[in-house]
């Protein structure tokens, strides 16, 4: 029976009211949810892996997983799954389960993180630090799903006490069982607390892997040989390199749980370039292409050296000629006339704020004239502090010589004095006595001051001397061109795939970088250069069209990433802001290679940008010094501690500018090039000292190219 209308209306009103409230409540809830989600989207969430060191402060190496979002309005690139970056946390302090510190994201500046430890992993949020450093993504993205398929924990790795152990080898053998991958590390002096890697499979079978440590201040690993044996053991030969901290420093002996995460290659989406790796082995192979086959190919292709050792026949006539040649003194400086000291700067004390090199660089506290680092400055003076071993007659100096009327020098073997002579200077050329110096014999070099009565003054200086034997004269020919083609191709493949697999296909972070520096903005350029140069060689020599295309594609991807890595803050590409002795120039060479390979005008423009950066930062003398990575301006602060040279050999930049002019027919930088040439002619070429920032005489690609052109 129907209810009367007078009793229905209030109920209806109640229903309308309730429904309205519910509707409004729903709207509010939806708004809250929407706002919450919007807020979440603006937060970059972090998940960090890696146990902090026992010190609980200082540098930490962690891997973080970032959930896409925004941070201070800077969009993290869209990804369908997760992004993995390698980070280096500094100033980390742990309070309970709170970890606070500054996380350096592959050189892109600092992020402040507040992290909580939950279930063995660290979770937290990050935001750019107060310096407003640009946020960028250097990682790669992977679909959900396969990430944890091969997680591996090794509990028995022991950190041994090690003191500058240098490069060693370790062997890692893993076996896949019902509980996942297990294994042990042998022959290892391992420090890695948390290591990460990727494996590649083919038809469900593992065919390779790359494994490395996480972070950029720990030991570096690079798995260079990987195979799966018949028992499905994954064998990886690892190169172990001691980290920065271990140089001349005793490392603590501790036991550490050691985790290796092996991630299957799923669908990789590479940054905004969107190089998509297929899901199926076939599709993946289409992109990864020749990686597997090439590994096999290069192993087969290279003949052993014994094939041409028979040609190493000595030639007595050439030996005689070389012995005469070696009687001439090596080029050397003369105090007061040519370089005997160097201009150097100290990066400490860092509190000195006036670190910018002024136009006249006079009166800047951090500039000084110092004695040249003896062991480095071979050509301007052969300081015998560390002993001399060479083939031609050197010039040796009596370090810290006392004031004396004359100086007596002598050479002895373990029995008696062979020759002695007097000089009125505390340095001497050995050219006049070199013929009397026996070859291939350990000798003693002695210097002492004497007064007018030939009595000794001050402390004598004693060092070692070793005259090497002359050139035996053999001049073996290179193998035939066909064999050389195989050899050069094999080396190029090794270079390209080692570098690009390590650096570009799997992980752009510093995890697998192949250059010992923590400065990824420098290694980015070098990696790109390496990929471009390797691909150029393959493009020139390979008869396989697919291989040429593949190599070019890999290099192109490296180049695109380098291009994309532009901050633009100062109108200078990030890769071109910080200049060491070769960094900018190598980047420029890479772009020129890529332009030749691909014809993409973006690389041409990038190369020109490099030239502009060089032009902008060129010193009035014609060479270059350090520039700040953020500002692109002269700045010698913020680099590593210690004294380093501020005047670099200009031949790297000179060589790049010349190539730009020659290949692109661009003469806009001719003045800069000529200015650099002047510097090379009046410094490096005159002193034979082609110096890097460390002062060593580095014979570089550009150096030899420059010398060849002189």
């Amino acid at each position: 029976m129907d209810a009367p209308l007078h009793s229905t209306w209030p109920r209806l009103r109640r229903q309308i009211r309730v429904t309205g409230w519910r509707f409004l409540t729903g709207l509010v809830l939806m708004a809250v949810v929407w706002l919450t989600r919007a807020a979440e989207a603006d937060v970059v969430a972090l998940r960090l892996w890696g146990a902090p060191s026992s010190e609980k402060t200082g540098n930490q190496s962690l891997v973080c997983r970032f959930i896409p979002g925004k941070a201070d309005g800077v969009a993290i690139r869209p990804g369908r799954g997760w992004q993995m970056w390698s980070v280096d946390a500094t100033g980390v302090a742990i309070d309970g389960n709170q970890l606070r510190g500054k996380v350096l994201v592959t050189g892109m500046g600092g992020w402040i993180v507040d992290v909580k430890q939950v279930d063995g992993s660290f979770h937290g949020t990050a935001k750019p630090d107060s310096n407003g450093a640009a946020v960028d993504v250097l990682g790669w993205m992977e679909d959900d799903g396969d990430f944890s398929a091969c997680d591996l924990f090794i509990d028995d790795a022991v950190t041994k006490s090690a003191k500058d152990t240098g490069v060693g080898d370790a062997q890692l053998a893993l076996r896949k069982g019902p509980d996942g991958w297990t294994g042990k590390v042998a022959q290892a002096d391992l420090i890695g607390k948390d290591n990460s890697g990727e494996v590649e499979d083919s038809g469900g079978e593992l065919i390779g892997a790359l494994i490395g440590p996480v972070g950029n201040r720990q030991k570096k690993w690079l798995a260079t040989t990987v195979k799966v044996d018949a028992g499905q053991n994954l064998l990886a030969g690892l190169t172990v390199r001691v980290g920065l901290k271990s140089i001349n420093e005793e490392l603590p002996a501790t036991s550490a749980k050691w985790k290796i995460s092996l991630h299957r290659l799923g669908s990789l989406v590479w940054g905004e370039a969107m190089v998509k790796f297929g899901d199926t082995p076939e599709a993946k192979r289409a992109v990864l292409g020749h990686v597997g086959p090439m590994w096999e190919q290069r192993v087969e292709a290279i003949p052993k050296v014994s094939a041409f050792t028979a040609a190493w026949t000595p030639n007595p006539a050439l030996t005689k000629a070389d012995r005469a040649e070696n009687l001439k003194p090596l080029p050397h400086g003369i105090p007061g006339q040519t370089e005997f000291t160097i201009e150097a700067g100290s990066y400490w004390p860092k509190q000195i704020r006036d670190g910018v090199r002024h136009a006249d660089y006079a009166g800047t506290a951090i500039w000084m004239r110092i004695a040249a680092p003896a062991s480095e400055l071979w050509t301007t003076r052969q300081l015998a502090t560390g002993g001399f071993a060479g083939r031609a007659a050197p010039v040796l100096e009596y370090p810290n010589a006392p004031a004396a009327a004359k100086y007596r020098f002598s050479i002895s073997n373990n029995k008696s004095e062979i020759v002695n002579w007097i000089s009125d200077k505390p340095w001497t050329s050995l050219a006049d006595v070199w013929e009397e110096v026996p070859e291939e014999t350990p000798l003693e070099f002695r210097a002492s001051g004497i007064d007018a009565d030939a009595k000794a003054v001050g402390d004598a200086f004693v060092s070692t001397l070793y005259r090497k034997g002359p050139f035996p004269g053999y001049a073996p020919p290179l193998p035939a061109k066909d064999e050389m083609r195989q050899r050069v191709l094999a080396a190029a493949r090794t270079s390209l795939y080692q570098e690009t697999i390590a650096a570009f296909q799997y992980d752009m972070g510093p995890t697998f970088y192949a250059y010992p520096t923590i400065k990824s903005w420098e290694t980015v350029g070098k990696r790109m250069f390496t990929a471009a140069r390797g691909a150029s060689i393959i493009s020139a020599l390979s008869e396989n069209g697919d291989e040429r295309a593949m190599a070019a594609a890999i290099a192109d991807r490296a180049g695109r990433w380098a291009l994309d890595d532009s901050g633009g803050k100062f109108g200078i590409h990030r890769l071109q802001r910080e200049h060491w002795w070769c960094t900018i120039s190598w980047t420029g060479h890479g772009y020129l290679d890529l332009y030749a390979l691909t014809g993409n005008p973006a690389y041409r423009d990038a190369a020109i940008d490099v030239a502009r950066a060089l032009q902008k930062t060129q010193l009035k003398e014609g060479n270059w010094t350090f520039t700040n990575r953020m500002t692109g301006e002269f700045d010698i602060t913020g680099h590593s501690n210690g004294i380093q040279l501020l005047d670099f050999d200009a031949s790297d930049a000179l060589n790049f500018l010349g190539r730009l002019r020659q290949e692109l027919n661009i003469h806009d930088f001719a003045d800069s090039e000529k200015h650099a040439l002047e510097w090379v002619l009046t410094h490096s070429a005159r002193s034979s000292w082609w110096r890097t920032q460390f002062g060593h005489n580095e014979l570089k690609l550009s150096t030899v190219s420059t010398m060849s052109a002189l």
């Binding site: 040989t225 001049a475 990696r527 250069f529 390797g534 570089k700 052109a709």
Partner: protein, 127 residues
């Protein structure tokens, strides 16, 4: 201004500076054992800083010497280039600690390719 003019200028340096540089490199940092072997590469140019053999620099120094005049220079250049080849492993890499850097491997490959005449080898013109 070309280089010939530049050399003629008062106070300038000439090709002798290049010759001196090369002579220094060979004198200071190479070793010439009687026969090549894996442990002691013949004619390897050693990095003065690390003291480790550096194959790509060996190869490039070989090119420089080969371009210089004189039988002695050419022979030394040939020896250095052959030493670089001799250090190559069967997998294409080089037996040099320095060659852990992929960039160095690429440069060594390029040097050998130029030396063998299978890659373009044109110095930058300075005109």
């Amino acid at each position: 201004m070309d280089y010939a003019q530049r050399w003629a200028e008062p106070g300038s340096v000439g090709p002798q500076a290049v010759e001196d540089t090369l002579r220094w490199c060979v004198s200071q940092a190479t070793s010439w054992p009687a026969l090549p072997d894996k442990e002691h590469l013949p004619g390897t140019w050693f990095n003065t800083r690390s003291g480790k053999p550096n194959v790509w620099i060996t190869a490039w120094l070989g090119i420089c010497l080969s371009r210089q005049g004189g039988e002695l220079n050419k022979a030394k250049g040939a020896a250095l280039l052959a030493a670089a080849v001799a250090s190559q492993s069967t997998d294409g890499s080089f037996d040099s600690p320095h060659q852990a850097y992929a960039s160095d491997t690429a440069l060594a490959a390029e040097a050998l390719g130029r030396a063998a005449g299978i890659l373009r080898d044109e110095p930058i013109r300075r005109d």
